[in-house]
Amino acid sequence: MVEGEKDVEKLREYGFAATTNAGGANSPWLPEYTEVLRGREVILVPDNDPPGWRRVSIIAKALFGQAARIRVFDLPTNTKDISDWFVAGHSECELIAMLEGVHAV
């Protein structure tokens, strides 16, 4: 779950199943979105700015106890979003490896 269509397209290019919600970071998270993701493994990728993190915090709360598993991909400082992360030279294999190695905070 990323923020914005551009990032969705970028992840789909690399073969990931990616989606976003309409209206940008400040639009409300609707109960029907939670329904779609019920019982699924979800990886949230916040844009690295206050609205991006506020959004992910809201989505995480909504999905908590509903999705099978919730992970958050915390982008390095100075990386705006996942597209930016790929532009910085990272690869999809690296992303998968990082997510596989994920552990609880």
């Binding site: 990886i43 690295n48 700015d49 206050p50 993190w53 506020r54 992910v56 915090s57 995480a60 709360k61 908590f64 598993r69 919730i70 992970r71 958050v72 991909f73 915390d74 100075n78 705006k80 990082m98 997510l99 190695g101 994920v102 552990h103 609880a104 905070v105």
Partner: protein, 452 residues
């Protein structure tokens, strides 16, 4: 690094991160030196004095005030390179696109406008999109951008904001939403160097507001656009009158006011006059009547005369008079409010009285606005006594003054005052009285001392 949310504490961690993360966008603060070093591109115009070359402009007016027609006329001017209204120069002629969402019969009416256009339109790069399947949003923007690039558009007319606006969901901040709509259009237009005219309507109940606040919706409507063009009728003229008042104001634009006249045959407007005097066009019409042939048709006699008071090149007052068969003479006098109480009106009247005496008149009839607290004492001090109510012609003056009438001097031909200045009657500190003479053929305009 990725982490997993398994407990309430993990959730709280994300919330804390959301609170603590600093925006990477820091506001820039510039010093005087940095400000001075900025390269500021001079604002460029698409149509001189009317429309900026890039960015969004709001074109709005009351229903039936020909807002759309005027927008179409600007598009024809831009596409053909022919001066708008035969008057305002098109600086950067080029392709123009009209998005007609408002009028279901848009294509038919536009076809009619083009067929009747006095400007040759054959082969000009003028395009119409009758009904687009979008409302404001990314799709519309992307489509517009593709059209701008593909057709090298100089101007897009969006008719109208209301028709292109999507439904608003409950709880949406309308100021933000409108600002957002207009800002995105403005940004697109600026980025692509294209001008965008957004047609909109006055809000109901805006009668008492200053014209630039009349646009329906919130203040964001005009705040988010580079220029505002407002079209209205003259409430003083009857409802069939074809004249329209156009007022233009913009960020990098010298404000302009002009009077246009709608032409039924050619479905367009002609330029009548321009300048600060435009809002006072109904008064000008009365002045014109005083010098024209229609005033007191049955009773007015020739010759007629008039005097104007000038402060520099500005007309600050006038008087017009003629002999009549009913009373011996009639006169009308008007002095701009800020020039009153300096003896201008009485001097004007004295000049006219001298002329009356010379013509052998024995009584002078003046028209007094019954609502003007100053008018009656003024005339009574000069020895006038009120006629019966039926005899008194209550008109003119009202509470308006003729101000900033530079345009009368500069462009008397278009204001069609069929008179010319034949001499200076008297002068005083800061102002002087010139004598007008009616011109029979009607084509020679009044000429001020600075244009002779």
């Amino acid at each position: 690094m990725p982490f997993e949310i398994q407990t309430e504490a993990d959730l709280a961690g994300v919330e804390a991160k959301a609170r603590s993360i600093q925006s990477s966008k820091r506001p820039a603060v510039l010093s005087v030196a940095e400000l001075m070093a900025l390269e500021v591109a001079p604002p460029s115009m698409l149509i001189e004095g009317v429309l900026p070359a890039s960015g969004a402009s709001l074109m709005f007016g009351a229903p039936k005030s020909n807002t759309t027609l005027f927008a179409v006329q600007t598009a024809i001017a831009v596409a053909s390179g022919h001066a708008l209204l035969d008057y305002d120069r098109v600086i950067k002629p080029g392709p123009a696109l009209i998005v007609e969402q408002d009028d279901p019969a848009g294509a038919a009416s536009l076809s009619d406008i083009l067929r009747r256009s006095p400007v040759p339109v054959e082969g000009i790069p003028f395009y119409l999109a009758p009904r687009v399947p979008f409302t404001f949003g990314l799709e519309l923007l992307e489509w517009l951008e593709a059209e701008i690039v593909q057709k090298a558009l100089r101007l897009i007319v969006l008719d109208s904001y209301t028709a292109l606006r999507g439904p608003r969901t409950a709880g949406v901040d309308i100021v933000k939403a409108e600002q957002n709509d207009l800002t995105m259009l403005d940004e697109l237009a600026k980025r692509t160097g294209c001008a965008m005219e957004i047609v909109h309507h006055d809000s109901k109940g805006s009668a008492g507001l200053e014209w630039s606040s009349k646009a329906a919706g919130t203040f964001a409507m005009s705040a988010a656009t580079g220029a505002q063009i407002h079209i209205s009728r003259f409430p003083e003229l009857d409802s069939n009158a074809s004249e329209r008042l156009v007022r233009i104001r913009g960020r990098h634009l010298e404000g302009t006011e002009m009077v246009l006249r709608f032409r039924k045959d050619t479905l367009d407007h002609e330029h009548v006059l321009e300048g600060g005097v435009a809002p006072f066009y109904p008064i000008l019409l009365q002045l014109q009547t005083a010098f024209g042939g229609d005033h007191h048709r049955q009773r007015a006699l020739l010759p007629r005369t008039g005097y104007v008071a000038l402060a520099g090149s500005t007309m600050v007052g006038y008087i017009a008079g003629h002999l009549t068969t009913r009373h011996d003479c009639a006169g009308e006098v008007l002095v701009a409010p800020e020039f009153r109480r300096r003896g201008i009106a009485s001097t004007l009247l004295r000049c006219l009285a001298d002329w009356f005496l010379e013509k052998g008149a024995s009584r002078v009839c003046v028209c007094v606005d019954a609502n003007s607290p100053a008018a009656q004492p003024f005339y009574q001090n000069l020895g006038a006594s009120p006629l019966s109510f039926q005899e008194v012609l209550v008109h003119l003056a009202k509470h308006h003054g003729l101000t900033q009438s530079r345009s009368i001097l500069a462009r008397s031909d278009s204001s069609r005052i069929n008179a010319r200045l034949v001499g200076i009657a008297t002068q005083s500190a800061g102002w002087m009285i010139g004598c007008l003479e009616r011109v029979a053929d009607g084509n020679v305009g009044y000429q001020g001392p600075d244009t002779r």
